[in-house]
Amino acid sequence: MDVLYFAWVRERIGIPKETLTTEAKTVKDLVEELKLREERYAVAFSDLSALRVAVDQELTDFDAALDGVREVAFFPPMTGG
């Protein structure tokens, strides 16, 4: 599964993208897994209310299931327009 990071999430984690294998059932499970990996993840994911998530390029929430998913992206609230 590809995991993408944008804006300050990308800066805090230090990479724009990584590919990983996970047993996580939901986005929330994946976040918990990542937070345990390294301090930079724990910092980036410390406040989920400040984050948004897209699964296979569709906005969703942290309860979304990861079964069959190819791409998950984490980023702050959007500021386009």
């Binding site: 944008f6 390029q57 702050p76 609230p77 959007m78």
Partner: protein, 147 residues
């Protein structure tokens, strides 16, 4: 319906004219244009807009289709830039064509409200004091509850 995501500048006058001229049975044309202005505290030199290439085009198309399904519209145009921009440059535009002005106005406002908070763009401002990500505003999220 036309949705463009691009790094290059667009010619607002030409786009507006082409859009308006292409709809002679639509009585009302509304455009909105977003221009880079200085940050609230001043001193901004440039802005960089990051986006999510795999998702941006689809997200904008979804928003544009939503507008077409909610209002009686003849056409919709959305252009949004990414990359580096300077104060005074145009970031994006939307245009709507409808038989009646209320539909053209409401659809343009809807497009802007959704594009602000649901399209994957992030702005970072660079100035003499360093760089800072633009924070999303509660009022932008709240604006969605109108629709």
């Amino acid at each position: 319906m036309r949705v463009l995501v691009q790094e290059e500048a667009f010619d607002f006058g030409r786009e507006a004219q082409a859009f308006a001229s292409g709809h002679s049975n639509m009585g009302a044309i509304v455009t909105f244009t977003g221009v880079v202005r200085d940050s609230d505290k001043g001193g901004m030199e440039r802005m960089v807009i990051e986006h999510y290439p795999g998702m941006t085009q689809k997200a904008l198309e979804t928003i544009a289709k939503d507008a077409v399904s909610r209002w009686d519209l003849g056409d919709v145009l959305v252009i949004h830039r990414h990359g580096e921009l300077r104060p005074g440059e145009m970031i994006m535009m939307v245009a709507t064509a409808a038989r009646h002005r209320v539909n053209a106005f409401e659809a343009a406002e809807f497009l802007m409200d959704y594009l602000k908070s649901r399209a994957p763009f992030w702005k970072k401002e660079y100035g003499a004091d360093g760089a800072e990500w633009v924070a999303a505003k509660d009022e932008d999220e709240d604006a969605l509850s109108r629709w």
